[in-house]
């Protein structure tokens, strides 16, 4: 399927606007992968026959493609099963490798669960973790970061860009602080790599996790960047086995997946500029149109933000109820968690200081390479209509319109 972006194409439903959770594969990626499932199925570690050679060659090539996208040396790329593994290997691996230097890690409350839960694990095993709060715009406070560093600090783990609100952290300033204090800097760059320029040298990154399926590649394959020079970084392997990937990650390489990952990186490298320009125009259109609704609020920094993401709260309308108005036709996610037992809304939105009511009222939009203007127009209409309909049905909206201060009401909390 090739989509000509200059021509009007028929609007096909459902529309996919949840590209922060995963992206569709680019057909060119699938094309590159196919031979490695079939005729070229070899094990890249088989050194003694052409099947193995061919697989190894393909992996080497993909490693170059991946490295190039982030300005790294191919030897610095460790293939993994995805970013959750990358986060675990990167953080636990550094924690264990540098145990003699200290046991303190600094991270932030808005990190992905794969980072937060890894840190919790480390705390249980005797490590110490500082969780930095973020400011109302979602950015960490660099002064707080610097103040949190102590002699035992070995790692700063701060994400490149947030998955829910798209806010981009001041990575270069963070790495400068890390370097000045002799601390390593790890970043979960899942949402950033392939979408905005990420350069491990310019950005001063020591260890970085990212994954293929957020950048039009296949699921089940990712990479951990591990710096080899200035400083040379090592991570302790988290799985025992055949010593693949320079001993840091054992396990037979997922050759077709890696080939697809490489191709996906190459496409991002070549098309990022054009894609970003086009997608950010669509994002801005979507955002501007939806912000015409009363009592709509953008969550997180507008200035330091991924070009394809927006997160908007529609006050006095509950997110899941809102999604139900169109989720047959538009795929989106909400910061509301009405389905979870705890009824706790998004911890990321709460970390920004949003009240639970606004957090419950949020929608996350993740546009992508295949998003069209027709889809955005359709989405604006569908969401605007549903918001208006649900507000007509919302007792909170009625009270708001009557000028009643909702905080003055004694709600029955359960």
């Amino acid at each position: 399927m090739f989509i000509d972006l200059n021509k009007n194409i028929m609007l096909k439903l459902p529309i996919y606007l949840d590209n922060n959770s995963t992206t569709p594969m680019d057909p060119r990626v699938l094309e590159a992968m196919t031979p490695y499932f079939l005729e070229d199925f070899g094990n890249a570690a088989s050194r003694n026959h052409p099947f193995g050679w061919k697989a190894e060659e393909a992996v080497d090539y993909a490693r170059e493609q991946v490295a190039k996208l982030i300005g790294a040396d191919p030897k610095e790329i460790i293939f993994t099963s995805g970013a959750t593994e990358g986060d675990n290997l990167g953080i636990k691996g550094v924690y264990e490798m540098y145990a003699s230097k200290g046991n303190h890690i600094i991270t932030a409350t808005t990190e992905h669960k794969a980072v937060l839960d890894t840190c919790k694990h480390i705390e249980k095993s005797g490590g110490e973790v500082t969780y930095l709060e973020v400011k109302a715009d979602g950015l960490i406070d660099l002064k707080e970061l610097e103040a949190a560093i102590k002699p035992t600090t070995i790692l700063i783990a701060i994400m490149y860009a947030n998955n829910e609100i798209g806010v981009i952290q001041p990575v270069r300033a963070i790495s400068a602080i890390a370097k000045k204090n002799g601390v390593l800097f790890f970043t979960d760059a899942v949402q950033a790599v392939g979408k905005i320029p990420v350069d491990v040298n310019k950005d001063g990154i020591d260890v970085m996790a990212f994954t293929a399926h957020k950048m039009y590649g296949p699921k089940g394959v990712g990479a951990l960047y591990v710096r080899r020079k200035n400083p040379r970084v090592k991570v302790t392997a988290q799985m025992d086995g055949g010593g693949h990937e320079r001993g840091m990650r054992s396990g037979t390489l997922n050759v077709p997946g890696i080939v697809g990952f490489g191709k996906a990186c190459e496409i991002c490298m070549n098309e990022m500029e054009v894609d970003t320009k086009r997608i950010s125009i669509l994002r801005d259109k979507l955002e501007n149109e939806l912000m015409k609704l009363e009592e709509a609020y953008i969550n997180g920094s507008k200035e330091y933000r991924l070009p394809h993401v927006t997160n908007i709260s529609f006050k006095h309308v509950e997110g899941e109820g809102l999604l139900m108005g169109f989720n047959k036709n538009i795929a989106l996610s909400s910061g509301s968690a009405c389905t979870s037992a705890s009824l706790e809304p998004s911890y990321v939105l709460k970390a920004l200081g949003l009240g639970d009511d606004l957090a419950h009222s949020s929608l996350r939009f993740g546009l992508g390479r295949f998003t069209t203007e027709e889809q955005i127009d359709y989405t604006v209409n569908a969401i605007s209509e549903t918001v208006l309909k649900l507000r007509d049905m919302s007792p909170l909206w009625e009270m708001y319109k009557e000028g009643i201060d909702l905080n003055s009401i004694e709600w029955a909390h359960h």
Binding site: E320, G321, M324, D357, M393, P395, L406, W411, A412
Partner: protein, 139 residues
Amino acid sequence: MAYSEKVINHYQNPKNVGTLDKSDKSVGTGLVGAPECGDVMRLQIQVDETTGMITDAKFKTFGCGSAIASSSLATEWLKGKSIDEALTVDNMDFVEELNLPPVKIHCSVLAEDAIKAAINDYRVKNGKEAIKFEESVVH
């Protein structure tokens, strides 16, 4: 999570959305839930003082599809019932009628609470004592 057809129908065509005059003595208003929990239901009943029958019911709900469907269904059930009959409506009736999954049981509890709150509001307004209900356990 897939919603049942009945929930979808109520969500798409909610019955009895609206507002009754809460200062009217014949109107009982129940407002339950909290914005922070993602659910607020307001259920209102109009009662014929001579017969004790519920002649009209209206709702407005902030919440998910199941919460909207539960309150819409509640208004349908209440119309034409006597206050005493209305008091027998149980949260499990909503669960069964709407095929609510376990994670949505709190919506049905909220609907039951809203009915009771509306009835008590009506009673208090008309010089009767509020009925003391046992605390609902599932929220």
